[in-house]
């Protein structure tokens, strides 16, 4: 594969997936780090293009996660996702939506980082189960088990936090149980 082909492929991947990848990063780190990681990610993709499976979205997310984890290790220990969610709750003017976001943020805070990844990958970045499994470096079966368990835990936390049917958060808990 020559450089011209690689550049064409890279352009295509960037146009198709960069939005979602950057959103993923911006949800989890500061803008500067997000842009650094995005740049490294596509440089890695460029270099490894022949080995990247098609469609590449699962691989791109998996690599973004690794790069971010590596960066985070050097910068800080805590998870920025919770702070992002908290910021977002405070900036939301629509009360029911704010409440839903708050419920989600506060229950997510009680879950493991792994559960948070599992729950947000498909819901927030439009990954299919297969792509999400790829992003998490596990089999589709393992992903399904993992997702099921994470949903159950989220539901339990929502219920124990007292969010009951009738509120948006309660309906979220319902949907999780369903």
């Amino acid at each position: 594969v020559d450089d011209v082909d690689r550049r064409a492929v890279l352009d295509e991947w960037f146009r198709t997936y960069a939005d979602r990848l950057l959103a993923y990063l911006l949800h989890r780190t500061d803008r500067e780090t997000a842009q650094d990681v995005l740049q490294e990610l596509f440089m890695t993709a460029y270099r490894k293009a022949p080995d990247v499976p098609e469609p590449p979205v699962g691989w791109l997310f998996a690599t973004a996660r690794r790069l971010l984890a590596n960066k985070r290790r050097g910068l800080r220990r805590h998870d920025d996702l919770l702070a992002r969610l908290a910021d977002d709750v405070a900036a939301t003017n629509d009360e029911p939506v704010a409440e839903l976001k708050q419920a989600f943020a506060q229950t997510l805070a009680a879950l493991s980082p792994g559960d948070r990844e599992v729950l947000t990958l498909s819901g927030w970045y439009g990954l299919t189960p297969a792509e999400a499994a790829q992003a998490l470096d596990c089999s589709p079966n393992a992903y399904n088990v993992r997702l099921h368990r994470a949903r159950r835990r989220l539901s339990e936390h929502l219920t124990s936090a007292g969010y009951e049917a009738g509120t948006p958060a309660g309906q979220l808990a319902e949907a999780l149980r369903g």
């Binding site: 890279l10 960037f14 997936y17 960069a18 939005d19 979602r20 950057l22 949800h27 490294e40 440089m43 890695t44 460029y46 270099r47 469609p55 699962g58 690599t63 996660r65 690794r66 590596n70 910068l75 800080r76 805590h78 920025d80 702070a83 910021d87 977002d88 709750v89 405070a90 900036a91 009360e95 029911p96 939506v97 704010a98 976001k101 419920a103 506060q106 009680a110 792994g114 729950l119 819901g123 927030w124 439009g126 297969a130 792509e131 499994a133 790829q134 470096d137 596990c138 589709p140 393992a142 088990v145 124990s160 936090a161 007292g162 969010y163 509120t167 948006p168 309906q171 979220l172 949907a175």
Partner: protein, 690 residues
């Protein structure tokens, strides 16, 4: 089910800058160009490769219990378009009032942490002083309570309060047989008949000036001593502990202390209905922020501050207080199931309402806390409202996380939050909900609960920096705006607001004083119906029952310069055509500042008006101006002066309050009480405080 679930989760997704076609934007194109430029550098990529490949495996293990090699999805899988912000979802979420309580203590902690972390900002140190000053200003204006004299008390006057039957703390109270004052940390009881000092109780260790107020019911007085010094901002954000002290005093014999209650936090205000007092205190969460490392970039300092918030225990937010009674001191904490929150809040301030029945003592204070800001308290017999003026810049400033670029939050709109509590029961108030209006309030007089509606006068500054004042009518149950009328006094400042049943009067001023009359009969359509332009302004309005209005303020000339104290009598019986009937100007009595409504006396039986004169003119300052109102006439009866304090220091004590007790006019200064004839103003007695 999975789709439904993902829809809910998608609705909770924070919007990012990458969501609106970023890759196709100029910024995206620049990023791609940088990647292509970097991608050609073999050196860079190989170094970076080493950097991540070793670290990646561990994380993958953490995220997925079953580690497997990347499984490639079926090639036919459709890749959905990038996730979009949940704009479309917001309308599909069913409307439901937010839960007021947290349900569980862990839920309270999680939510308080999240909200507080979200609102934590860095503030440059040079702004701290400005913030302090403004905070003090806000607190002062909030403490300026005010009043309409309770009618139908035939033999003595009472504190000129905003709502009849809702008493406000003041420096002097009377029940007709005695006068109780608190001056320089000393409570004094004076018998109205004998005009003798019958009791003295020192409440501070040393004689010193300390802001103090009291409430009186039967043989009990509750004295509020406010701490001296900087308002609000405690060092390192922790409560200073030097909060207000509330002392319950028994007056059945010689005054004796029953007990003392000291909440941690800042005095906001109090209201008393019957013997039940509602005390409002605000406190900041006690979070141990890391010491700012000035070499760190701003983002890191902010992250460290937020981490501290996210690690703080629930106790950090729970307001604490101390009660001393019968020689026993107990430290108490507001239980977490008594902490509630509005739909939106910063977590940076807790408002606590304590309830004291003066006839019962300090046993059960039934505190309830609301995670909200507040500096203005307004109450009717059944509802307590606490309003928070919008933060000046950023909401939440902390000394020790300070530094770096200014971070005003332009996203914080200039809105006043209003929280409503039900106080019909004698126990703890019940939080009913919150609403908001654009702009800021002048004082508690900007609020009025009438006929199922809360009316609010607020001044907002437009994006062009022009202030404009509006009246909003809110349904008191939902606190949603049902109607508004705006555009009052563009570019002018509000000086006075007064509601009288379905009518509101608003005075704005810059060069001229437009007195606006607003008709609020239709909650959906409040409207300005009349306007009267005068020179000068009124800073206090007092509606008389006969369709007249008294205004006290400053006279001015056509250039907008203030020339002296003025008292006006308006005829507002035709709301569309307000007129000034009479007008007394003291060119020699140039007043300063706003009139404290508690200092205003109207005694209907004699048509008497008394206002203190505060001026730089040595020969006139400290006096009280006595006027007579009758029909459409307003005449000057004379002035009352207290004996000169013969030095050192040598000064004329300023008259602060006036009242009618036992058929005489009583005036009070820091030096003592003077009794004067109600008709001739002739001296009848002097009761010195020293």
């Amino acid at each position: 089910v999975a789709d439904e679930l993902d829809r809910w989760i998608a609705a909770a997704r924070p919007h990012t800058d990458a969501d609106d076609g970023w890759a196709a934007s100029t910024a995206g194109a620049q990023a791609l160009a940088a990647i292509q430029a970097g991608g050609r550098s073999r050196h860079t990529t190989s170094r970076r490769r080493r950097a991540w490949s070793a670290a990646g495996v561990g994380l993958a293990t953490a995220a997925c219990a079953i580690v497997a090699l990347a499984a490639v999805g079926p090639p036919s899988l459709h890749v959905p378009p990038a996730a979009r912000p949940p704009a479309g979802h917001t309308t599909r979420v069913p409307l439901q009032m937010a839960l007021a309580g947290y349900n569980t203590c862990p839920a309270a902690l999680a939510a308080l942490r999240a909200h507080t972390a979200a609102s934590t900002t860095l503030v440059p140190s040079y702004q701290m002083y400005a913030y302090d000053a403004q905070l003090g200003g806000a607190a002062r204006s909030a403490v300026v309570p005010d009043a309409v004299a309770a009618q139908g008390q035939p033999d003595h006057s009472s504190t000129n309060v905003q709502e009849a039957g809702v008493d406000e703390p003041d420096i002097v109270k009377t029940d007709g047989t005695r006068i109780v004052t608190v001056v320089n940390g000393v409570l004094r009881v004076v018998d109205a008949k004998t005009r003798k000092l019958t009791g003295t109780l020192r409440l501070t260790k040393q004689p010193q000036y300390q802001p103090a107020n009291l409430l009186l019911f039967g043989d009990r007085a509750l004295v509020v001593l406010q701490p001296q010094g900087v308002y609000g901002m405690a060092q390192g954000s922790a409560p200073t502990g030097a909060g207000p002290a509330y002392t319950l005093v028994d007056l059945s014999g010689l005054p004796t202390v029953i007990g003392t209650f000291t909440p941690n936090g800042n005095y906001v205000d109090a209201r008393m209905i019957g013997s039940t007092v509602r005390l409002v205190v605000s406190s900041a969460p006690n979070i141990k922020y890391p010491t700012a490392n000035w070499n760190q970039p701003e983002a890191k300092r902010l992250a460290a501050a937020k981490s501290a918030v996210l690690a703080a225990p629930l106790r950090a937010w729970q307001p604490t207080y101390q009660v001393t009674q019968d020689g026993v001191t107990a430290n108490r904490v507001v239980p977490c199931d008594q902490i509630q929150h509005p739909a939106q809040y910063t977590g940076q301030t807790m408002l606590t309402v304590y309830t004291i029945d003066l006839t019962k003592g300090l046993g059960a204070l039934s505190p309830i806390s609301l995670a909200a800001d507040g500096d203005t308290v307004y109450a009717t017999a059944s509802s307590l409202y606490i309003a928070s003026n919008p933060a000046w810049f950023g909401c939440c400033l902390r000394y020790d996380v300070i530094v770096g670029g200014a971070r005003p939050r332009p996203s914080l709109p200039q809105r006043t939050q209003i929280h409503r509590f039900d106080i019909t029961s004698s126990g703890a108030p019940r939080y009913l909900g919150s609403g908001s209006v654009p702009g800021r309030l002048l004082s508690s007089y900007s609020l009025s609960d009438y006929d199922g509606h809360l009316r609010v006068v607020a001044t907002a500054v437009t994006s062009k920096g022009v202030s404009t004042t509006s009246v909003y009518v809110l349904d008191a149950d939902t606190l949603k705006v049902t109607g508004s009328a705006g555009g009052l006094g563009r570019g002018q400042q509000v000086y006075a607001v007064r509601f009288a049943g379905p009518v509101a009067y608003v005075v704005t001023f810059r060069m001229l004083d437009p007195l606006y009359v607003l008709d609020l009969h239709d909650p959906a359509d409040p409207r300005e119906v009349g306007q009267l332009e005068l020179t000068g302004y009124s800073s206090y309005l007092y509606p008389l029952p006969n369709g007249q209005l008294i205004g006290v303020g400053q006279d001015g000339n056509s250039k907008g310069l203030v020339t002296g104290l003025q008292v006006s009598l308006f005829d507002v019986s035709d709301p569309a055509a307000p007129t000034r009937l009479a007008h007394v100007v003291g060119r020699d009595l140039r007043g300063e500042g706003q009139l404290d409504p508690h200092a205003f006396l109207y005694w209907p039986a004699k048509g008497l008006i008394v206002v203190p004169i505060d001026t730089w003119k040595e020969s006139e300052t400290g006096k009280a101006l006595v006027l007579h109102v009758s029909g459409s006439q307003l005449t000057r009866l004379g002035t009352i002066t207290h004996p000169r304090h013969t030095g050192p220091p040598d000064y004329v004590p300023g008259i602060q309050r006036s009242m009618v007790v036992d058929g005489s006019l009583w005036t009070m200064s820091s030096a003592g009480l003077k009794v004067s004839d109600l008709s001739t103003l002739a001296d009848q007695g002097w009761i010195p405080f020293s």
